[in-house]
């Protein structure tokens, strides 16, 4: 049966050329997306390995499994790998790369060679970081706070800093490519008000990448120069200011949170209308809230520094602005929920991830309000409450979105259907495992357990045991899709061009798409999400 399929197989981006060279020298945005997919998955599992070490160490109050230094390196490298080598490139570089040209009816991104260059830059940085890892690693925390990083740490700070400096250029170039592509390469008729919200959200993300990343690059260079040439910029004993580092670092790293979450919101705005068979509720507000998040997100960085010794009045301003940035996020959640109203809702795997996303992101966002509230943040800052909060946003939000998106577009990417039953099961396991891992951390955080503690007072143990138990469930939930998605490449049912009967342009071409995406440049005469014009998907195709 398989051979019969092969003989009639259409030419697509996967079988257009064979051989390792055709992949390493490709300029096809879809192939580059797959190169990214492999690389970030690799780093996700390394980062996950460090998470496992952290959770095992914290199973008991005494520091017994790892040495203190090893533990410090484990949480540092968990954070740096997950943030810089997984989360930031995850959705933009894989799904964004794959989908944006197709969604706007283009043959490729505006600068295909620069797109390939971004991946090579990522790989160079990744290899440098791995070298840092095997030669002993780094222990500053992912935040590189001075003067610990600049004057006191005896680990490979320079190498880690340079790796992250380099990987930044990969995201700057990706951002640049997206902005130019979205401005210049939309198909005839595809006006801004007809753009899929996935594209709007990536547009906002790209702006942050372009404007924010250079700042962290400069900051890390300063740390490196401080360590190697003894500049003294962050050294208080020579007139420098260690807190200046925190301002510079968070000026990028707070917006970076939005680099991680906006693409996930982008995925939600595609999945929810499709599985509700409805237009997204309040299209303009969802689109504009992405832009608002990108804009206000640049003005809230010092909420990471309420106890760092900043002035009372600047703290008031930053607290106020931090509440303000919560509004557009809330608007999105309300609009997605309202999209389901009077819809025709089906519970396919992507939709389960989407509903999980809304729930977890709601909790993540609301607990952010606790941290924006000045007097409350004083107690919660640097405790496990913060850890729980940002994992709800960056794992509960960003990773759920990533997985939901991977399932949604898997038929388009691979040309195969994934097994629906396994997909639903994995989504459920991830949801349960996630909550069991991170909810107890809110409680132990309010009790006062500080973050980055290798050993801790025994009264916090129960919560840590729950958390470790949850993490092992979560690990199963993450491994399962790895297995069945790979399985589906060979044994999955061939995917039709539009298995979900979705409205986007990417579904109006073959699965998998031909190298140049469309045989003819499409002309768009409709608005995004006109689901009333689409038939219901064929349930038989989906069940497997």
């Amino acid at each position: 049966m398989a051979t019969a399929v092969v003989t009639t197989e259409r030419k697509n981006y996967l079988n257009a050329e064979y051989g390792i060279r055709s992949w390493l020298l490709t300029t096809d945005h879809k192939r580059i997306a797959l190169l990214y997919l492999l690389s970030i998955t690799f780093f996700f599992f390394i980062g996950g390995f460090f998470a496992l070490l952290i959770r095992l160490e914290l199973l008991t109050p005494a520091g017994d499994l790892l040495t203190a230094d090893t533990y410090n390196k484990a949480f540092t490298m968990h954070g740096q790998i997950m943030v810089f080598f997984f989360l930031i490139p995850s959705i933009p570089a894989v799904l964004g790369n794959f989908l944006i040209p197709m969604m706007i009816g283009a043959k490729d991104l505006a600068f295909p060679r620069i797109n390939l260059l971004s991946w090579y830059i990522y790989i160079v940085a990744g290899i440098l970081y791995l070298h840092c890892l095997v030669s002993g690693g780094v222990d500053t925390g992912w935040t590189f706070y001075t003067p610990y990083s600049s004057l006191f740490s005896n680990t490979h700070v320079v190498e880690a800093g340079l790796a992250i400096f380099i990987v930044g250029f990969s995201s700057i170039l990706t951002g640049l490519n997206f902005v130019v592509t979205i401005h210049r390469m939309r198909a005839p008729g595809l006006t801004w008000s007809r753009l899929p919200l996935f594209v709007w959200s990536h547009y906002a993300t790209s702006i942050i990448m372009l404007l924010g990343t250079p700042v962290i690059a400069i900051t890390l260079v300063l740390v490196v120069l401080e360590r190697t040439l003894n500049l003294g910029i962050f050294d208080a004993s020579r007139g420098g200011d260690p807190v200046l580092f925190q301002h510079l670092f968070w000026f990028y790293s707070h917006p970076a949170v939005y680099i991680m979450i906006l693409p996930s919101m982008a995925v939600m705005s595609e999945i929810i209308p499709c599985f509700s068979r409805k237009r997204v509720f309040g299209y303009t507000f969802v689109a504009m809230s992405s832009i608002a998040i990108a804009a206000i997100g640049f003005l809230v960085w010092a909420h990471h520094m309420f106890v760092a010794g900043i002035s009372l009045y600047s703290a008031l301003v930053f607290s106020f602005l931090s509440f303000l940035v919560a509004v557009p996020s809330a608007v999105k959640v309300f609009n997605w929920t309202a999209t389901m109203y009077k819809g025709s809702v089906s519970f396919s795997t992507p939709m389960l991830y989407a509903m999980g996303f809304i729930g977890l992101f709601t909790i993540g966002g609301l607990t952010g309000l606790f941290l924006a509230t000045l007097g409350v943040d004083v107690h919660l800052h640097d405790t496990y409450f913060v850890i729980a909060h940002f994992h709800y946003v960056m794992v509960g939000g960003a990773v759920m979105g990533y997985l939901g998106g991977m399932h949604f577009w898997w038929p388009k990417i691979s040309g195969r259907m994934y097994p629906e039953g396994w997909g639903r099961l994995a989504a459920l396991i991830v949801f349960i495992g996630f909550n069991l891992t991170f909810f107890p951390q809110f409680l132990v955080g309010y009790l006062g357990m500080p973050r980055r503690y290798w050993q801790y007072p025994p009264e916090y143990q129960v919560y840590n045991v729950l958390s470790t138990a949850g993490a092992s469930i979560l690990a199963v939930g993450y491994l399962l899709p790895m297995v069945y998605l790979l399985w589906s490449l060979r044994y999955g049912k061939p995917a039709p061009d539009n298995p979900w009967q979705a409205t986007g342009l990417e579904w109006r071409t073959a699965s998998p798409p031909p190298t140049f995406n469309f045989d003819e440049t499409p002309e768009v005469t409709w608005e995004a999400y006109e689901y009333e014009t689409m038939p219901l998907p064929d349930e038989v195709t989906l069940e497997r």
Binding site: Y145, G343, T373
Partner: protein, 330 residues
């Protein structure tokens, strides 16, 4: 009660109760919102699940709803903002007659110096009901002084002083944590705050008190280092007289005026040329590297003792925690 499964942290300071109420308010609002979203999703998912013969109703959106669900949450959030801001303002404004304790943090240890003289390591004894202000600095990296039972936390920075204050309300022994990652034994940089009834505290103090107060040690050091050859006590020497300087504005030679607080005194000892007092030459040598953080605190405590507390504020002489100025130098 729940030794192995505590559900709520002990509240042992005047800030704690207010903070707990605010936290509770936030929790209730957040829980209500979360439940609302979850329930609405569940209802929509059930009620509008895909069935044969029923199609989705196309709806574009609703301006009224959009405005409503932008403005209403913002209104509630402004309540949170105000509550948090008031508490933060209180936390950042130490009462003027607080008992002061100097804190020096280093990898991986807390060193504390009471004005009355006793020194402690990784332990801080305070009486119930007294406002206590900590004046903190670090001799290496950034640390953070955190007492969960008091709901207070403040980063401790190298090269300058930060402050934190609390009024303990319940006797007991509470965790003191370093909350800012500071290297290998960050999680070992812990200690305890012992809150005692005033009588017990006084007993402890008279037991622990060594030969003299912090200011007296500072005076001895002041003379040992020869500071008094230029800073003579009553008249202006080659350096400005230090009596009555602390807490008051100082005219600088570049025309600026600064208030002589702890950070100013610190800078003037370590980098004397940075802010020279008007009418004096920048001839003072730097003491950077020659006096350590604890000695700096002694010197500053001494200079502070030369300024009487502002008029109008009753300071009960001889009360525990009161700092009677020692006799001036010479």
């Amino acid at each position: 009660m729940f030794d192995n499964l505590p559900l709520w942290p002990t509240a042992a300071s005047s800030h704690a109760r207010y903070e707990d109420w605010l936290f509770l308010f936030l929790t209730v609002v957040s829980a209500a919102m979360t439940v609302l979203i979850f329930v609405v999703i569940a209802i929509f998912a059930m009620k509008y699940r895909r069935r044969h013969g029923r199609e989705a109703t196309p709806i574009e959106g609703s301006l009224l709803l959009e405005i409503g669900w932008s403005v209403a949450p913002l209104g509630v959030m402004m309540l949170m903002f105000a509550g948090g801001a008031v508490l933060y303002f209180v936390m950042r404004t130490p009462p003027r007659d607080s008992a002061q304790v100097y804190v020096v943090a280093k990898q991986w240890m807390w060193k504390l110096q009471h004005m009355e003289g006793p020194r402690e390591i990784n332990q801080l004894h305070v009486p119930v009901g007294r406002d206590v202000e900590l004046i903190m600095t670090s001799q290496d990296v950034i640390h953070s002084f955190y007492v969960p039972a008091f709901r207070v936390k403040q980063d401790v920075l190298p090269g300058r002083y930060t402050t934190l204050w609390f009024r303990a309300t319940r006797p007991g022994t509470y965790h003191l944590f370093c909350a800012q990652f500071c290297g290998t034994m960050h999680s070992g940089m812990i200690g305890e705050v012992v809150v005692m009834e005033p009588r017990d505290y006084q007993a402890w103090m008279s037991n622990a008190a060594p030969s003299g107060t912090l200011a007296q040690s500072g005076m001895t050091l002041f003379q040992q280092l020869g500071c008094n050859t230029c800073h003579v006590s009553e008249t202006q020497g080659r350096g400005p007289a230090l009596k009555g300087v602390f807490g008051n504005p100082v005219q600088l030679d570049d025309g600026r005026t600064v208030v002589a607080d702890e950070n100013y005194l610190r800078e003037s000892i370590l980098v004397p040329a940075a802010k020279v007092v008007s009418g004096f030459k920048p001839i003072m040598p730097s003491w950077q590297g020659q006096v350590n953080e604890e000695q700096l605190n002694e010197l500053i405590a001494y200079i502070k003792s030369l300024s009487p507390p502002p008029a109008g504020e009753a300071v009960t002489s001889g009360a525990p925690g009161g700092t009677a100025p020692p006799s001036p130098a010479q």
